[in-house]
Every structure is written in structure tokens, then in C-alpha cells.
Symmetry: C2
Subunit: 424 residues, 2 copies
């Protein structure tokens, strides 16, 4: 089953309605442009209007530019800036000068100090701008929207193993392929996997981590996923590798997990759960982890609770939300899990997304055969925005290791994390 390869990013767009048009720039337009820049915290950027006029909040600093091609786009920016910036950029009515990533970094850095955004934690952040939350039915719809648009598309810009989560770069120049394998190995070490153990994975993507665990660490894995296309692909891989008896892929929700396991892993899955369901996920982990079990959650996170952009939620990842550490505690506290280790891999995710965007652009002609221009521009904006969010520190990547409170078989030191592969 595949989605139609266009229309995923249909932009609700009203124009030429007699009120809004792109004739000469007027004083009101200039005033609105200043207002918009001010709402962004007066970033070091130029706003170039459709007749070539330049509006700037500050004259100093390195410049990026935003070209607004018509009055409608400018006016929309003031009603719902993040949604309409995304849509109008995707539709080509806004262009960026000086590079999309530097532009986004400039805006995010500025927003972080804008009075409206600065140092405010919003306890209802998760629910804002959401087209869908994450009941079992909504989760299926949300996951389908993003992950079921075609494996061949993702193959164009992910690594060979098709890992769609933050890689781990042992050194900054490691290849994406090496960094994704290093990430899988780091996860396995953090879980202290031993041959013969059992692992449950909640949200398994195209199945690479489960296969790696089975192949390299001799464990049996049961992996849950509600993306049909991913599960089909993962099962084919397991069969091709002769690992279908060691690795079982189940097309079902994390809430359906049954059985007892030595390890619980969720890599890039918590983002799709929603804080309203963390307690429920904690209950699932509590009932499925053995007394000496170890768990690992790898998730995008935030320093304080802020809503996602409505554009991102409506066009890219409906239902998604990167939690704060405080919000994540709702997973652990009610079940008295002990947090053993938290590692922040933010800079690794900026680097991972740079690789993805680079490959996306390298394979642009193939992407363009699959999707229309609106989709291509939206995806470019999404990947660039991810790089910028991680590079300016607006998003984090937390790897959290936990156990039951009474588990004294936990390692004394972190030596097992740095042992070379040959020493295991």
C-alpha cells in the first residue's frame, strides 16, 4: 500500500481575492514586514519584498535573506507564521538567500531570545497545534502519514541499513554508514545484551536494529511497529538473512506488547507516543521487563516544553512531540524505574541530518521523479530545519538507560560502553 505521491503537501492557499494582491509595496506592507521581524526577535536577516525593497531589523551581522514573492505570503506570515512560512516556502512563494540551514539557525537563535518564546515552559505544549493526538487509531494514521510514503524514497537518502534515527559518530569524520552501526552497537552495549537473552523493541523502523542485535549479540528480538510498509520490508530482510526465527516483527501498537523480556528498547519511538501516554507506556515496560531487565529509550527531546511548529505537525509528523526530561519522568516514576544513564547526542543528530540532506540533494533528480516540487521543497525545509534545530540547541537527543529500583546487577562503571568490539 502506498500513498499517492503528490498531494501529501496540498497547501490551503487563498490568493487573488481582490483584497490581497502583489502590486506596489505600500507603507502598510513595510510596517507588517517590520512587525514580522520583531515577532521573530529581530534576527540578523533581510526581508526582501516582491518589488525588491529590503526590510531589516538590524543592519549588523552575517546576513541571510527571505524573499517574499507576493503580498498574500507576507500577510499570511503574520497570521500563523510557522505554518504559512512552511507552506509558502514549499509552494515557492518564499525563497531563501544565504542557505536554508543558516537561515533557519538565524531564526531559531533569534526566537530563543524573543520575548514571546524566551524561557517559558508550556505544560500543555504537546497538545498545541496537533491535528491528531495518539490514541491507537490516531497513532496508526500519524505513522502512516510519514512512514508509508514509499521505502524507495527513504532508501535514496538514508544509510544502507535504513536507520531513520540519530547516528553516533565516534569521530566527526565517520561515514553515515559507520555512524549508524556505531549507534546500534552503543545501544546494545548500554543494554548489556548477552547471547540467549530476549529483547522487545517498541517501534522498529525498517528493522535494522533488531537484526543487528540478533546477528551480533545473539539475542532473540520481538519488534513492534504500526507502519505496514516498514514491517513488510523488515520481514523480507529477516528472511533474506535467515534470521526470521530469531527476529519477529509484529505489526501492532506498543500497547499490545506481551511477554517478558531481558531488555526493552525504543529508538526514535517516544516522539510518537505523546506525554499523555507515557504513564501507559511505562506500564507496558513494567509488565514486560524481567526483574534484572534493562531498558533504553532514545528520543528527540527539549530543554523546556514548547509546542512543535504547526507546519511540522500538519505536513510532516502529525502527533509527534519531543519531550523534556521532566515530561519523560512520567514513564519512570509511577513504576519506580531508576534512571541509570542519560547521554545527550544533540550534535550527532545535527550531523546525521546533514548527511541525510546531502544525500537527498545528491539524489534530487530521482526524488523529483517520485514527488512533485511542493513535496521536494517541503522535505528540504524539514531536513534543513532539523539540522538547524539540533545545531542551535533547540532540540536535544536523549538516550536514557533505566532499570528497576531493586536491580543490583547494574554495571558499576561505564567501562562496558567503551570496550572495543573485539573485547566483548
Amino acid at each position: 500500500m502506498t500513498l499517492p505521491r503528490t498531494g501529501a503537501f496540498v497547501v490551503p492557499f487563498r490568493n487573488g481575492n481582490g483584497i490581497v494582491n502583489s502590486s506596489n509595496v505600500k507603507a502598510l506592507d513595510r510596517w507588517l514586514a517590520h512587525l514580522f521581524l520583531h515577532a521573530l526577535g529581530d534576527p540578523e536577516m533581510d526581508l526582501l519584498l516582491w518589488d525588491g525593497q529590503k526590510i531589516s531589523a538590524r543592519e549588523t551581522g552575517p546576513r541571510v535573506g527571505m524573499v517574499v514573492h507576493d503580498r498574500g505570503a507576507l500577510w499570511r506570515l503574520l497570521t500563523n507564521p510557522l505554518l504559512h512560512f512552511g507552506d509558502d516556502y514549499s509552494a515557492g512563494r518564499i525563497e531563501i538567500e544565504g542557505g536554508l540551514v543558516p537561515f533557519m539557525e538565524t531564526v531559531y537563535r533569534s526566537l530563543a531570545h524573543a520575548p514571546k518564546f524566551h524561557r517559558k515552559s508550556d505544560p500543555g505544549a504537546y497538545r498545541r497545534n496537533q491535528p491528531n493526538l495518539n490514541s491507537p487509531a490516531e497513532s496508526r494514521q500519524n505513522i502512516h502519514h510519514h512512514y508509508d510514503i514509499g521505502n524507495d524514497f527513504y532508501q535514496l537518502w538514508l544509510d544502507r541499513e535504513m536507520l531513520y534515527t540519530c547516528a553516533y559518530f565516534p569521530d566527526p569524520d565517520a561515514s553515515l554508514e559507520a555512524a549508524q552501526i556505531a549507534k546500534m552497537d552503543l545501544v546494545c552495549r548500554k543494554l548489556r545484551l548477552q547471547p540467549g537473552q530476549t529483547v522487545v523493541e517498541a517501534g522498529c523502523g525498517w528493522g535494522a536494529l533488531a537484526l543487528y542485535m540478533a546477528r551480533r549479540y545473539g539475542v532473540s528480538v520481538r519488534a513492534y511497529n504500526i507502519s505496514h510498509e516498514q514491517v513488510v520490508h523488515a520481514r523480507q530482510r529477516a528472511k533474506a538473512e535467515g534470521l526470521e526465527r530469531q527476529v519477529e516483527y509484529i505489526e501492532d501498537d506498543y500497547r499490545a506488547i506481551s511477554g517478558k523480556y531481558d531488555a526493552f528498547a525504543a529508538v526514535g519511538m517516544l516522539e510518537h507516543v505523546g506525554p499523555d501516554h507515557y504513564r501507559e507506556l511505562g506500564r507496558v515496560i513494567d509488565r514486560s521487563m524481567t526483574e534484572q531487565g534493562i531498558g533504553l529509550i532514545h528520543t528527540i527531546g527539549q530543554n523546556c516544553a514548547r509546542p512543535m511548529s504547526p507546519w511540522f505537525l500538519q505536513r510532516i509528523f502529525p502527533g509527534s512531540y519531543p519531550p523534556t526530561i521532566r515530561e519523560m519522568m512520567e514513564l519512570f516514576e509511577p513504576w519506580e524505574f531508576t534512571v541509570l544513564d542519560v547521554e545527550n547526542l544533540r550534535l550527532h543528530y545535527a550531523k546525521t541530518c546533514e548527511h541525510w540532506l546531502g544525500r537527498f540533494e545528491q539524489n534530487l533528480s530521482l526524488v523529483q521523479e517520485m514527488f512533485d516540487d511542493t513535496f521536494v521543497r517541503a522535505w528540504r525545509l524539514y531536513l534543513s530545519g532539523c539540522i538547524a534545530n539540533f545545531s542551535v540547541g533547540a532540540l536535544q537527543l536523549f538516550q536514557v538507560v533505566f532499570s528497576r529500583a531493586s536491580n543490583n546487577m547494574i554495571p558499576l562503571t561505564r567501562d562496558h560502553l567503551t570496550a572495543a568490539a573485539g573485547e566483548r
Copy 2:
């Protein structure tokens, strides 16, 4: 200035009031004994009453025993069990068979599953049972109560460097001396100290860490402490080592910290701050850390918010509270600090306290020359209780490393943490 060396543990004790006496055990006494065991979650222990009768909730399992010497002690256990157990044990009206640590472990394990305590997080936990909270004046009083009872006493059972915080055992058989040095080095590595940098330390004990940082890492340290005896001792040490220009000890509250520093360190200090003041401490860190600064907080913690025992708060550490990770976020979120690394050293603290109790018992005759028997028994109970709390997982030890959100000079990996000292 020293406190009187007795009376610190004066036990409010009413007995022989005509109602309560220790004559023959009656049916009511037996019923109360059962009630007490049930409130503890029916642990695998025997309660031995003053005439030798044994009351047990369960007949199976390894046994520890609690001998209650008179009816008054039994009845008091039911009114405020933790306070009166501590006081009556200290006064010798309760004795323990099978070892104090195994006894406490049995009780704590049982309490963790008792209906009253099980899986309940109490948002007001910090304020319960507190004789004093932690305003600047109360903090001075609280700190004075514990730390100013005589440096010569602490010298009897701490390591040579006089570190009164969790050590780090690179291997389980390391000596306490080696483990405390390893802990200081781990802290310095986590802070990535470089020669010439400046460090501010909030709560510096007898000054060892500040001296180590200056001596081994070539940094300048300004260290704040409100324990007069500790500051006097620390200054003497700095002078004796010729480090008095590199290390400045200031007898003042963390709220008085001024200046800008490359690193902020608080080791075993947050326990005395109280969650009501975390935001305030965060503000102090925010104003005193440079843009590329790194901070480290090393603190006892909990998996979920539970009040401290009233005995511990009244007799040992008034004003103290070990936070949950959720509660600690109030330090970071309002100032948009990024959590980079959390390590849980719980098992290291159990081991550290075992060393302390062992040295305390080895030097018992010297301790007895300093303090009366009530103090000695209270201190034994305190150290044994610490071992038990850490060994059963009722308490945690969190080391948290953090930076500003925009700091991209953070290390990509943890390689700098494991580099041998010679490689620095």
C-alpha cells in the same frame, strides 16, 4: 567553635507514666506488634518483646530481629515509627539482631512494597517532617548542626582528603582513598577543566576538591561554604599546600556567589538546598557561568518524591532532601540549561558508606571518648541506614553535567571521561 559533644541527640522520652510499663506482655501488645509489622509491609523479621515472646509476620526467609526492651518503645513505634525507632535505638531501648544493615535493608525492601508507600510520588515530600527549611538563616543553622560537630570526629572515619560525598570505585576493590581521588578526577574530567580556567564551587566541605582541581588541573577556584569549621580547615590546607592564591574559600551562602566562571561545581550540596530554592540556585548558576561554561551537580536523589524520615531530619540532617530528576529540572528548565549527561552512582555510595561505617567501628573507642553512647548509636544507625538505602535502591546518586543550550563546544563523545590520567 564547637558544639557540646553530648545532647545533640537528646531523645524526648516519656516512660513510667503509670499507663505504659514493661510488665508482662499482653494480648494488646501482641496485637500492636503485629500492626507495626503490617505497617512495614510484613517484612521477613522477628519482633522480640521484652519478655522474650517472638512476633513474626512471615515465617519464611532469612531472619533479622528487632528486640523491643519495653512497652513504651513498642507503643511509640506505632505513633511515629521512623522517629521513635531512631530515638529508641539510639537510647538502647531497641536492639537489632542479625546486623543493622541487613535489618534496615529488610525493612526498606518491605516498605517499598507496603501499600502506604508503594509507587506514590508526593509533590510536597520536601516539606514533610522538616524542622527547618532552607532560608539563608535556616541553612546556616542546618549546616552547623551536622558539619560543625568537630573536624577530629570526621577525620576518624573519612578518607585522608576528608571527602564526605560518594566516592567512585573504578573497580570494586579500590581503597576508599583511591576511590575518592578517582571521584575528584571524574568530576574534573566531566567539567573538562583546562589550565587557567576559573571554577566556582558551591558547598566545598573541607576543601579537598577545590585543592585537587587547582593542583592537578591548574585552575583557579572560588569555593563557598557556610560551615565555619570546614572553611577554617580548608583555608589551613590551602596555605599548607601553597595554593592560597589559587583557591579562595569564602564563608558564605551559594546565594552570595558573584563573578563569572568557566565551570560550576556542586558536589553533595544540592541535598541541603531544598526544591523551593532550585530555581534560585539556577539563577545563581545562570549569572555566574560563562557562555561556554560547563556545570556539574553531584547529589543524592530519589526515583520518586518521598519525604525523609523525621528521625533523620531532626537528629542528623535538618533541612536535607534528595531530589528526584523531575524536581532537579527546576534548576535547569527556567534558565534553558541543557542536560548533557546523567550518571547514577548509587552502588558506589553504598560502598562508600560501608567504608565509613567500617572505619567508624574501627575507631569506636576514640569516638566514645568524644561522644556519649546515644550519639554513637545514632551515628551507627545513620551510616547503616545510608548503606541500606543505597543498596536496596531507595536512594540514588546522580551526577548531572549541563551547559547552556547554545554551547556547541560540548564534547561529541564521552572519550574524555575514560582517558587515563597520563593521557590528559
